[in-house]
């Protein structure tokens, strides 16, 4: 498999706070990586840098051949639209847009909208009958499934999920995790931040952080 993500000596500082202190690893295309570690260990900072939402202080973060640190504002915008699919813990849906329009919003910023394709994406996550609902009328699990549909609609190279089940009850968590397993079987590349060891065990590898440093890179089989 080809390397999709290459991180070398990545550092990020917020004033005197060191969020990432020289992190290096690589991710193959089609891999599901679980990023774990205590709060404040730099997991979300890593996701933000890989997604082009934040810039590193130094080091390299190459995604699909593009070094995020070298992109200007316009380049970052294109990078986010074309390469990345984000799924957030807080869902981050636009409250005054329907489920369908939230998915189409990603299409709109990527290129052109295709309502039929957006409906199909929602049907795929089991929300074919909820397309015209506003986020406020959807459960947490349904909102997260809309976010998954939105993340997939532009066929991104890399799916970045920051604790996607962190705000869900057990039943909804199960539904969302099943979706991720499906995506993995379809060979999507997924980097997922999670605190849940059970979810971490579903991934191909676990990258564990502590104090901004990479502590372990483990395969689930190595945990035993």
């Amino acid at each position: 498999m080809a390397t999709l993500v290459q991180v070398d000596d990545l550092r990020k500082e917020f004033g005197n706070v060191r969020a990432l202190a020289g992190v290096s690893f690589s991710v193959e295309a089609g891999e599901w990586i679980a990023i774990m570690g205590p709060s404040g260990s730099g997991k979300t900072t890593l996701i933000n840098i890989l997604g082009g939402l934040d810039m590193p202080t130094s080091g390299q973060a190459v995604v699909d051949g593009m070094d995020v640190a070298r992109l200007d504002e316009a380049g970052l915008t294109r990078f986010r639209a074309q390469k990345i699919g984000f799924i957030f813990q807080q869902f981050h849906l636009v409250p005054y847009l329907t489920a369908l329009e939230n998915v189409m919003l990603a299409q709109y910023f990527h290129s052109t909208t295709d309502e039929k394709e957006a409906r199909q994406a929602l049907e795929r996550v089991g929300l074919g009958d909820r397309v015209e609902h506003l986020p406020g009328a959807l459960s947490g699990g349904e909102q997260q499934r809309v976010a998954v549909a939105r993340a997939l609609i532009n066929h991104p190279k890399l799916i970045l999920a920051d604790e996607p089940t962190g705000n869900l009850d057990e039943a909804n968590e199960e539904t969302v995790i099943q979706l991720f397993q499906e995506l993995h079987r379809e060979e999507h590349t997924i980097l997922m931040v999670t605190h849940d060891p059970a979810i971490g065990n579903l991934a191909d590898r676990r990258i564990e952080f502590a104090h901004g440093k990479l502590k372990h890179i483990l395969r689930p089989t190595e945990l035993a």
Binding site: D54, A74, T77, R78, F86, A106, Q107, Y108, F109, H110
Partner: protein
């Protein structure tokens, strides 16, 4: 998707935007009314100033007014024919006057012979006790100034005998004039009767003209008259024409200042609303940027939203402004101000500009960093 998003933005922020659109409609209404007034003020003011009487005086060259020396008189027919030949629709009234000092009994009085129908057009503001119309129709009717009436103890219907040299004439008082000026000391009779009394057929002392228009156009008309009547001296009555021009300039300055002030205040009001809206939308903008929305595309969306608000506010306000300007015209001038179609698009353009100027906080949303927003800072 752009217009769909725009519609959802407008609906989603209805409460906040209602404040902005209310201020834009109010502003557009007042601005539209003031601009209509500004465009029509010259016409209205000119009409108002015509109430003040003559603004051009035609007299013999180097003559003293009220003199009736034959050498200082003018030909009535020559002046009338020249004024008629110019065929200027701006001439509201042209009244020839022959002034003589006659005796009423033993009391000397200034007698002004004139065309009484022209006098009524020349001096519409005069207060007249009695039947003004009958004095125009009957050749022996006359109008007397209130001071003359008091001095000679005349009332409407009283007989008045006038003597000039060896000639006598009998008149009936048809009205008592309260002009608030020297006219209150005069007796107004028909021009032909005055000429007959003074044995000066076809002669007049002066001609007074009421001409509508600006100070400049009145001066130009006087100049044309001067060319056509080289023996006489037509000249604008400066106190009136200059006062008119001066007042027009002041009112226009006042209107323009008010329009600018209202536009600035409305922009500040919109600014306040948009600042609150911008705070509410930081999260949405952070998300849009995370999804790959460019700054240009996001800001264009918000600016279009504000532009639509401005245009809608301008449209409704301009329509209401037409009614407001009518009401203002009725209250101030007694007639409705005529609306001009060009005010409509001008008001809409001004409101869009004001809304965009007040939308500065939304433009600053382009600087939002998604990571900062998602961290909850």
């Amino acid at each position: 998707m752009f217009w769909r998003l725009l519609w959802k933005l407008l609906r989603g922020s209805g409460g906040r935007l209602a404040v902005a659109i209310l201020s834009l409609v109010s502003c557009a209404m007042v601005v539209s009314a003031l601009l209509n007034l500004e465009f029509d003020i010259e016409h209205k003011l000119t009409q108002e100033f015509r109430m003040l009487g003559a603004n051009i005086l035609v007299s013999p060259r180097n003559a003293q007014i009220n003199s009736s020396s034959p050498a200082e008189l003018m030909s009535e027919s020559e002046v009338s024919a020249t004024v008629s030949a110019l065929k200027d629709p701006a001439v509201v009234a042209a009244a020839p006057f022959l002034y003589i000092v006659a005796n009423a009994g033993k009391t000397p009085v200034v007698v002004a012979g004139t065309k009484l129908e022209e006098l009524s057009k020349l001096e519409p503001a005069w207060k007249i006790e009695g039947d003004w119309r009958s004095s125009q129709e009957a050749p022996t009717s006359c109008l007397v100034g209130r001071n003359v009436a008091r001095q000679l103890q005349l009332i409407v219907g009283s007989p008045l005998g006038l003597t000039y040299l060896n000639n006598n004439a009998q008149f009936t008082v048809a009205g008592i004039v309260d002009a608030g000026g020297t006219e209150d000391n005069q007796v107004f009779v028909g021009l032909a009767e005055a000429q007959s009394l003074a044995t000066l057929p076809g002669k007049i002392s002066v001609a007074q003209l009421s001409v509508s228009g600006t100070s400049n156009s009145i001066s130009q008309f006087a100049a044309r008259l001067s060319t056509a009547l080289p023996a006489y001296e037509p000249r604008p009555i400066r106190q009136i024409t200059e006062a008119e021009g001066d007042l027009l300039s002041r009112i226009r300055l006042l209107i323009v200042s008010m329009v600018i002030l209202i536009l600035v205040l409305t922009a500040l009001c919109v600014l306040g609303t948009m600042a609150a809206l911008a705070m509410e939308r930081r999260q949405d903008v952070g998300l849009m940027k995370a999804l790959g929305g460019s700054i240009g595309r996001i800001v264009t969306l918000f600016m279009t939203e504000v532009g639509v608000l401005g245009a809608a506010g301008g449209f409704v306000g301009a329509a209401l402004g037409v009614e407001l300007s009518r009401w203002m015209g009725q209250r101030v001038f007694g007639t409705a101000i005529s609306s001009r179609w060009e005010i409509f698009p001008l008001t809409i353009v001004l409101m869009v500009a004001v809304a965009l100027a007040g939308a500065l906080p939304l433009r600053l949303l382009g600087k939002v960093k998604p990571a900062v927003i998602f961290r909850g800072e």
